[in-house]
Symmetry: C2
Amino acid sequence: MNHMFVEFIECTKCGEKYKSGLNYNCTKCGSILDIKYDYEKIRDRIDMRRLPISGSGVWRYKELLPIENPSNIVSLNEGSTPLYKAERLGEAFGLRNLYVKDETRNPTGSFKDRPITVAVSKARELGVGTVASSSSGNAGGSLAAYAAKAGLNCIIFAPSSTLDSKLIPIALYGSRIVIVDGTVSDAFYLAKKASEEHGWFNATSTFVNPYQLEGDKTVAYEMVEQTGGEVPDWVFIPIGAGPLLVGCWKGFKELNLLGCTTKLAHMVGIQAEGCAPIVKAFRENTDKVDSWGKLTTIVYAIADPLVGYSQDGTYTLRNIRESGGVAEACSDKEILDSVKLLANKEGIFAEPAGAAVVAGAKKLLDEGKVGSDENVVCVVTGTGLKQMISERFERPKPIRPDSKELERFLEKTGL
Amino acid sequence: MNHMFVEFIECTKCGEKYKSGLNYNCTKCGSILDIKYDYEKIRDRIDMRRLPISGSGVWRYKELLPIENPSNIVSLNEGSTPLYKAERLGEAFGLRNLYVKDETRNPTGSFKDRPITVAVSKARELGVGTVASSSSGNAGGSLAAYAAKAGLNCIIFAPSSTLDSKLIPIALYGSRIVIVDGTVSDAFYLAKKASEEHGWFNATSTFVNPYQLEGDKTVAYEMVEQTGGEVPDWVFIPIGAGPLLVGCWKGFKELNLLGCTTKLAHMVGIQAEGCAPIVKAFRENTDKVDSWGKLTTIVYAIADPLVGYSQDGTYTLRNIRESGGVAEACSDKEILDSVKLLANKEGIFAEPAGAAVVAGAKKLLDEGKVGSDENVVCVVTGTGLKQMISERFERPKPIRPDSKELERFLEKTGL
């Protein structure tokens, strides 16, 4: 019943090879592992050249995912999110071919459901009874939901800045929550150590678990399917450590290897000015990303200082450069304005991190790096319903249910 | 370019007929209007007997929807929501064939996107520049999003109990908000009157606008498609005024007329004990629903006292009875417990109104009205992200990022 085309798992630095199992970073050099497939065999078995693949969601690409037995799949119908032509937003910016890949439509409201469906399926396949993760909220909510569906125990490590609106769903799904007095990096290390000690499956959605990137890459497959085989010129992705960007880049490269496409996209990683370690290295034209000091942003979902695992940032930067892409940062004000713009022009309500790509696309267009006729896809990664930027909302004063009072109200507020 | 199979619009009480246009209630007797199609012609043109219809979302059924020209359609990829077999929840209850139709997966997080996509498309078709609605939040959020996508003005009338978490998305989509010092009924009347005076398209999602029920009925089409042509024995739906229930019932009847099915479902309407006008009439075995007095529930999305339009409740009750169904009420405690149960067993996070059907299904099973082998579908209407029942959440105290402190915490909290 082995449906898997995985050949081996390889260290991205020293080249050490591993068999599929409970793998995290390279046990030899500590670097990031990557899953390698037998693309020749995949080409023979399924015709990826004829897109779209039938069915719906992440698991229609199961030949390109690292699960041996489909009966282990734990799914909540993730993926197959809409790709919209953003006509009104594009017009406002002067971008003729602007698209939004709306990842807010995933089951728990963010793209994290893609890596997490793979992780929880792998945990089930390996027979592990407890899954754990460090998370600022979205990955934690996703892991808690999939663990609930699968009947697994779940424990989430969240930094103290994590919003109640991200923790409440996690608690309702039945997960345990550990609030760590520190940053996402502190939570990362505690989750890692505790998972090793207790034998939990560590599903932290950075690069520590090589299986999860395989879920991320399905965003690239879908983009190409949804444009009838076209590859965008530019793909904008909000990045903390950057696994979604690296995953998408891998997805585009695989479509080339499988003979579906002949072109590759330029990958753009967007960070918030208040936590931009990868952008800093890009701007300084160095290869090595350093960890970040003080966080001064409310764009929490991508506020990862990478303390102790700056190699993750270095790896993401290497992938951005390989794609001929850019790393750029936007201010919190630019990002919050883009939340409003995306809602107001396209009817899509994103969290700040999700809308950051919109601010980024405008910036690169204004700087002349992106041309007004080029094909641009903004990956909007998470829903605004879990970070409502309520500080900008002023609740209107109630009026009596009376026509005259309504007319006065309308006049005063200028409709 | 007329793609429409609408024959006429008919009063459900006096039988007066209208042509398609800006219709609300019957101008002769004030009753609810219903849209009638030429099913013979539809049978010739599309083969609804061969389900599923290809494509995705509400608009793949466009022959059964009241829009003349498809270029007027305003869509955010609503519909095609998952139907899950709820294995773990069913096991907990002793229901062998329990399904969840997960309407939280719609673009703005509730089923309201189905009636609203039809309403906003109709507003565009009729050339109206402003849409309005009274709403406790979900319909308002939906209308504001679709109006943003279409570039129309939007104005939402919300009762004073409406939560900030429902108003913030509405404001970000760019809609005007009028908070009405009163109930949803007061907001209803103010929206109705103002729409008449200003020439706005009144998209209030009760029975006032006959087009919107046509979007609701697509839930029934999808249920039948997703079970390979089977009709459930029981369909549970949370009801305020009840258009979703009546719409689904119409959908099942249409599938019969079109030759796709030979069976009909029993429709069960669930209300909260603190606002249960339809259940009261059902229990008292009368035909006429009376409006409700004091609201004593936090299940806001279905807390409609029907003051001034109790005929809507009477109409819904008539449809429930016609289906051989039941109207039942649950306590707020039962409903809040079911939010947790649904999240914990199935990984689905619903708002209280959405999870009310789970409490209702358990109740009817325990009362022996529903058999443990029967096919039961619970329509979970809206996401929990807009009403998080935060009063039940206790934020854990932070711990230092230290293994020993973690072990103490885990021991104390009992993992």
